[in-house]
């Protein structure tokens, strides 16, 4: 297996970023980590994961779709789509890597979202296996192995080395771009590191969270559950959970009048918002209870129903640590199961 010593990682980043844009999770001034465009001297964060997920790269929070101008009674429409440049995201965790699979199911199935596809085509995802999972991690619940992340290329850290394995052709291109820096390494060292992580994984407090009671066929079982009332009671109706979630994929389309024309753009929406899916006749989900239920039913029931049992959650744990009132999918799952 190809590897590089940790102190040479800078050189690798330099070589990659010379060819295309490279983003790595780096520490921010406030102590949190965020994917940041690589600049010489930038260090990988020691935090497990970023506040905002890696979905931003393929599905940004706001995105212009089209522009048009009104001239008298004529409308002039401008297609503003541009081919995106190649880029690499380094250090994506297994959970976020799986989130792309989920987003792909939404955006790459017919009709294909060409904006999303454009970015997907040009982005190389380099994942980084976890070695210090946190108490909020429960990706295993969704069948994700954080020691064997997906993506175009996987990277492991063991002792003072990073090990590389290409999964796709794009991944191979990534490895090739830094080939001169890499050396052949001892896989045994890596195996023992992975084994150590696996031991920790078993001890995770949420290791026993299971999807066995959820899935596409559970609509009637849970929809009218009396648990929703107490669960949603303290929900503030903010969008924190949605906006830090790697799999939430809803957006709203709006027009902005710049004074010199209209920009039509889309931006993330949250099912927790009172004006989510508001239509001419009004809003189909009028109470916070219904909106709260929508979010979790979507992830645990509706999504698997439409996607061959795939759940709409990857267990990254972001909503567990970021919800202002500490309500989250794990608490919901446990409450619903507790009959």
């Amino acid at each position: 297996m190809l590897r590089i010593s940790a102190d040479k990682l800078d050189a690798l980043f330099g070589a990659v970023s010379a060819k295309q844009k490279l983003y790595i999770p780096a520490d921010r001034a406030d102590g949190e980590a965020a994917f940041t465009e690589y600049a010489p001297g930038m260090k990988l964060t020691s935090r497990l994961n970023t506040v905002r997920s890696a979905k931003d790269f393929f599905f940004p929070q706001t995105e212009n779709l089209v522009e048009f101008k009104l001239e008298g009674k004529k409308i002039e429409i401008n297609d503003i789509r541009e081919e995106c440049d190649d880029f690499v995201i380094f250090g994506v965790r297994a959970c976020d890597a799986r989130s792309f699979t989920i987003l792909d199911k939404v955006y790459l199935s017919d009709p294909v979202d060409t904006f999303y596809k454009n970015r997907r085509d040009h982005g190389t995802v380099v994942t980084l296996a976890c070695d210090r999972p946190a108490e909020t991690c429960f990706c295993q619940t969704f069948g994700i192995d954080p020691t064997a992340p997906e993506g175009d290329c996987s990277v492991w850290r063991a002792e003072e080395y990073y090990y590389f394995k290409a999964i796709t052709a794009k991944g191979q291109v990534f490895i090739d771009s830094a080939a001169s820096l890499l050396e052949e390494g001892n896989a045994a060292e890596l195996d023992s590191a992975v084994a150590k992580t696996k031991a920790v994984l078993e001890k995770l407090p949420l290791a026993n969270v299971s999807t066995k009671n959820f899935g596409g066929d559970k609509l009637n079982e849970y929809f009218n559950s009396d648990k929703w009332g107490e669960l949603s009671e303290s929900c503030l109706g903010c969008g924190t959970c949605t906006f830090v979630c790697p799999t939430c994929q809803c957006y709203d389309i709006r027009d902005f009048d710049t004074g010199n024309g209209i920009k039509r753009y889309r931006c993330w929406d949250s099912c927790m918002y009172s004006d989510f899916t508001k239509m001419a006749h009004g809003n189909p989900r009028l109470t916070q209870l219904e909106r709260f239920r929508q979010r979790f039913m979507h992830k645990l029931v509706y999504f698997p129903a439409n996607n061959n049992g795939e759940f709409g959650c990857v267990g990254c744990g972001r909503c567990l640590s970021k919800c202002p009132i500490s309500m989250n999918i794990v608490k919901v799952m446990k409450a619903l199961e507790d009959k």
Binding site: L70, G72, D257, G259, N260, N283, L286, T287
Partner: protein, 663 residues
């Protein structure tokens, strides 16, 4: 879809010379929603208005933009024209391309560009204009006159003459005001009491007039046509309805050492008193600061001597509430306090007096029965010095910046009267300017000089020094002779500046009327609306608006009455439809708007709302009384949820204007 017509006025060459009106009309014609865009020589002319009217009918317009002079000039003209053509008048907007464009800019290219932008903003606004209907509110056929001096009396008499009920609120126990204290009037020298007291009697006997003496306005609510006023009737401890004004109580009252304010404190009265013989109402009043019975419960003489049992020591302040259609302010004036003018020794020497004190000293009903004697030793003064402009025409720090207007004439009157009655008395008048603009005024002054040999000296008195021999040294300059004089005087009379009554300021706050920095009420327009305040339904009478002599005061009083009658004649008045309104669905009921409303137009109601889940919820929401709201918009900004908005100047309209300007 909107159908907007744009009409660009040339205003002769006023606009057309610096703004290319054709280009403006042409360009605005391309704005969204504009279906017709025309220019014309004079849009406000009959034919210009017809152009607009025809276009409204022909193109079935939903909005009109006039690019012309300031809306302050012709907004109403065009609104009326639109209404005549069947378009709601509030669907008309004016773009001010004259005062705010053609007249201030010289370069045709940039001025034209600006005119287009202003026009575009008006078009953007008119897109969002909503048809508004002005409501009507009824007019209460009753007027309130605040102040019972000659101004108030005259106004009340005139209004009553027209057949409307009038209430006079006077803070003193009698009406009459300052004029009742004056001895003779210039320039005719007839006796003030002889012309005033018949009017006082007339007022008291007029069936349309109610006099609330010894009363004050405590609270004013409401708006033009419908003011609700709370009047405080101060306890006078005498039952007005019983007292006959016989005066026996005032004779018997043992407390005889009360400074008599009617005589400017130059003599004393009793604790129970009638201010003067011709007082109206002629009713006794007990002064609680001096009455032994009220102070420590020992006395009760007046109660014993009163044959009708009018004395009531337990009387309390009473409040009455009344509704009025119009309010006339006639709060009058007072001479200023002279404490800070040490150089005139007013506080050191009793023989230095103010002109109003001199009036009482010379009055037959005054402390000396009409014989002019020095207050200090009751001797006849042989040399009297008059000092003009004491506290008038000063720097703000030194006194009043304005001319008190009446002093030149009353001093000439005093000088003349003294010389007439006591030819052995020398009279000196120190003046800066003698101002006599009035009918027969200068002739009057010349008589004082030529016929009565009053010594008019151009110059100011610098210092007044009481001497040990009881004489007064007056040091002054004679500017024309270029010398400094010392006059050995017996009396010095100071023409103190006059100022508005102290009660005027709080009253102005209650009435939400404006005052200038000197506390004179501000008229709606200094030339064209001199007797109206800027607040609808509040009129100004007499010296509360500025210094005035008696003829002017009476003239203004009648003018104010005429304005009030004009209002009271109407059965209802049209309200301003550009008022605030609250979107109850969004209102939080937080009371922010209520707190900033200067008119108390906002109240709260508990309203039942149907909730999404079909339950109902009662919520407190704001409700605006459109008849009271004047449309300032303070509430719209205080409201955090944006529930409050203002008709005619809505959030979206103003933002549309901003957007159009910044395009």
């Amino acid at each position: 879809m909107q159908r907007i017509g744009v009409f660009v006025c040339h205003c002769g060459t006023n606009i057309a010379a610096t703004v290319d009106v054709k280009t403006v009309a042409e360009t605005l014609g391309h704005e969204p929603g504009v279906v017709i865009s025309q220019d014309y020589q004079y849009m406000c002319s009959e034919s210009g208005q017809n152009l607009v009217k025809n276009a409204i009918k022909e193109h079935n317009l939903t909005g009109v933009v006039i690019c012309s002079c300031s809306p302050r000039m012709h907004e109403n003209t065009f609104r009326k024209a639109a209404a005549a053509a069947g378009l709601n008048p509030y669907l008309v907007e004016i773009a001010n391309i004259r005062e705010q464009c053609s007249w201030i800019h010289k370069d045709i290219a940039t001025a034209t560009e600006k005119a287009i932008i202003l026009g575009r903003a008006a078009v953007a606004k008119v897109h969002l204009n909503a048809p508004l209907t002005a409501g009507e509110s009824p007019v209460v056929k009753r007027a309130l006159v605040i102040g019972g001096g000659i101004a108030g009396i005259q106004t009340a008499l005139d209004i009553a003459e027209a057949g409307f009920d009038v209430d006079i609120v006077e803070k003193n126990p009698t009406i009459g005001g300052k004029m009742a204290q004056i001895d003779k009037t210039f320039p005719t020298l007839d006796c003030a009491a002889c012309i005033l007291t018949p009017k006082m009697v007339e007022a008291s006997q007029n069936e349309h007039i109610t006099i609330h003496s010894f009363s004050e306005v405590a609270e004013v609510k409401g708006f033009v046509g419908n003011f609700q006023v709370k009047i405080k009737k101060k306890a006078r401890f005498v039952d007005e309805t019983k007292c006959t004004g016989c005066g026996l109580c005032t004779e018997k009252c043992p407390m005889k050492k009360v400074p008599n304010e009617f005589n400017m404190g130059l003599d004393n009265r009793t604790a129970i008193y009638i201010p003067f013989a011709q007082a109206v109402p002629k009713v006794a009043t007990i002064d609680p600061n001096y009455c032994m019975m009220l102070k420590n419960g020992k006395c009760g003489v007046c109660s014993k001597v009163c044959s009708v049992g009018a004395i009531d020591y337990k009387q309390q302040d009473r409040f009455i509430e009344e509704k009025y259609g119009a309010i006339v302010v006639a709060t009058g004036f007072n001479p200023i306090k002279l404490d800070k003018y040490d150089e005139f020794a007013y506080n050191q020497c009793p023989d230095v007096v103010t002109s109003l004190e001199l009036e009482r000293l010379m009055n037959a009903a005054g402390p000396n029965g009409g014989t002019l004697l020095r207050p200090s030793d009751k001797t006849h003064p042989h040399t009297i010095v008059f000092v003009q402009c004491v506290g008038s025409r000063c720097d703000d720090s030194k006194g009043k910046p304005y001319c008190s207007k009446i002093c030149c004439m009353y001093t000439a009157k005093h000088a003349m009267l003294i010389r007439e009655k006591y030819p052995d008395t020398e009279v000196y008048v120190f003046y800066i300017d003698v101002r006599t603009p009035g009918k027969n005024f200068d002739e009057f002054y010349r008589r004082a000089v030529e016929q009565y040999n009053v010594h008019y000296i151009k110059g100011m008195v610098g210092k007044v020094t009481p001497k040990s021999d009881g004489k007064i040294d007056v040091q002054a300059s004679d500017l024309l002779a270029n010398e400094q004089l010392h006059i050995n005087a017996d009396m010095v009379v100071l023409a103190a500046a006059i100022e508005p009554d102290k009660t005027a300021r709080p009253l102005a706050t209650m009435l939400t009327t404006q005052m200038d920095t000197n506390d004179f009420f501000t008229e709606a327009h200094p030339k064209l609306r001199p007797v109206e305040s800027a607040t609808a339904g509040i009129f100004l009478s007499g010296a509360c608006q500025g210094p005035k002599d008696i003829p002017e005061t009476v003239a203004q009083a009648s003018a104010a009455a005429a304005k009030a009658i004009g209002l009271l004649c109407k059965n209802s008045i049209t309200c301003n439809p550009c008022v605030a309104h609250s979107d109850e669905l969004m209102c939080n009921g937080c009371s922010s708007c209520e707190k900033v409303c200067p008119y108390g137009a906002i109240t709260y109601i508990d309203k039942e709302f149907r909730m999404p889940d079909r339950t109902t919820k009662v919520r407190r929401v704001a409700s605006v009384n459109p008849a009271v709201c004047q449309g300032c918009g303070a509430c719209t900004v205080a409201c955090p949820s944006g529930a409050m908005d203002l008709n005619g100047f809505s959030n979206s309209q103003i933002m549309a204007e901003v957007d159009a300007i910044c395009k």
